[in-house]
Amino acid sequence: MDKTRFILISVFVLIFVSYSFAIEKSPLEGEAFPDISITPPENQNDIDYLGLKEKKSFKLAQIKADIVIVEIFSMYCPYCQKEAPVVNELFNKIQENNNLRNRIKILGIGAGNTQFEVNLFKSQYDIKFPLVIDENFKIHKAIGEVRTPYFFVVKINSDGSTKILYSKVGSIQEPSDFLNMIINKAGL
């Protein structure tokens, strides 16, 4: 009987371990955002918004901001479609605030999407912040193949290092609460 119990417990432990390994693949709060190159947005307005010097692949830490909100989405994902107006509202709230406008930027990364698909999503939902492509799932793989939409809030330190303040799948819920959460966590 004791033997059976031992086996039972070890199987439970195995399951637990396998689950935690699965989760560990995505960068968590407190960790750095993967130092991976990102395809630049197509239009100049978006490049200016991110504070990039030229239209060239870039790293997240090169974005001119204290905080970057990264949304991993797909044009094909119904949840992302539903979330689009919510993120637009968040963007508007940031832009309306003189103190936050230059400090918090939003970047959407289209997992497995082509430029055409990302453009369709952008125009369909009248999205004013940059959306970039991740056509071959390169970024998506580096962040543990998360489900979409997935949000990261990343702090960019003055030394160019990054620290994730928020890492979670699903809706950001109420934009003003989400923004307050960022302000509190980042000490803006």
């Binding site: 039972l8 699965a22 797909s74 044009m75 994902c77 119904p78 479609q81 055409f116």
Partner: protein, 200 residues
């Protein structure tokens, strides 16, 4: 007592096995979380269709989700038709294919085209599955009975009874203008399809 613990152990091992296999996510939507069956990586294409560009598209009549029957020939002389066959409801890639077409309505309209979505599933399954996608603007047809008859007519019924992931573009005269029998494991990109529509 001993028997039941052995059973539990087997059960947990199966769980463990499943938890390790169901991991690839295809950039999958959070909407379908926990509801999508993962068949693993399948043989990309398992059939060879006899249909070719320039041939007349085989006619068919199928029941749609909304209750009405839809025939291909009802669009003759009126609209270009895109048929999107997807392998089955509740499978990874297709669950994220039609929602994309759902926001591309204007692109279809601009090219005077209607989209017909077809799977070999029955209507109740299609109902539950498409409900997860929100309101779809295009008809969804059930090729359930006789099983996969239309998929077979189009030469894309796989030996395991699901259809290929395939796109057919049919012009107003009923002639096939484009065929993409796609790797079942990946999603055809939208601009290829739209480009073909623009050529009509």
């Amino acid at each position: 007592m001993k028997k039941s613990s052995t059973f539990i152990i087997y059960f947990l091992f199966i769980l463990l096995f499943l938890s390790s296999t169901v991991s690839g996510s295809f950039g999958a939507s959070e909407q379908f979380k926990g509801k999508i069956f993962n068949p693993g990586n399948l043989k990309p294409i398992a059939t060879k269709t006899h249909l070719k560009k320039g041939m007349k598209a085989p006619d068919f009549t199928l029941p749609s989700l909304s209750g009405e029957k839809i025939s291909l020939k009802q669009f003759r002389g009126k609209k270009n038709v895109v048929i999107s066959f997807v392998p089955a409801a509740w499978t990874p890639v297709c669950s994220d294919q039609w929602p994309g077409y759902n926001i591309a309505k204007s692109l279809f309209e601009k090219n005077n085209a209607i989209l017909l979505g077809i799977t070999v599933d029955n209507i109740p399954t299609l109902y539950a599955w498409t409900k997860e996608m929100g309101e779809l603007w295009f008809p969804v047809l059930s090729d359930f009975y006789p099983h996969g008859a239309v998929s077979k007519k189009y030469g894309i019924l796989r030996p395991d009874g699901v259809s290929e992931r395939a796109l057919f573009v049919i012009d107003k005269k009923g002639i096939i203008r484009y065929i993409d029998v796609h790797d079942i494991n990946s999603r055809p990109n939208l601009e290829m399809l739209i480009k073909e529509l623009e050529k009509l």
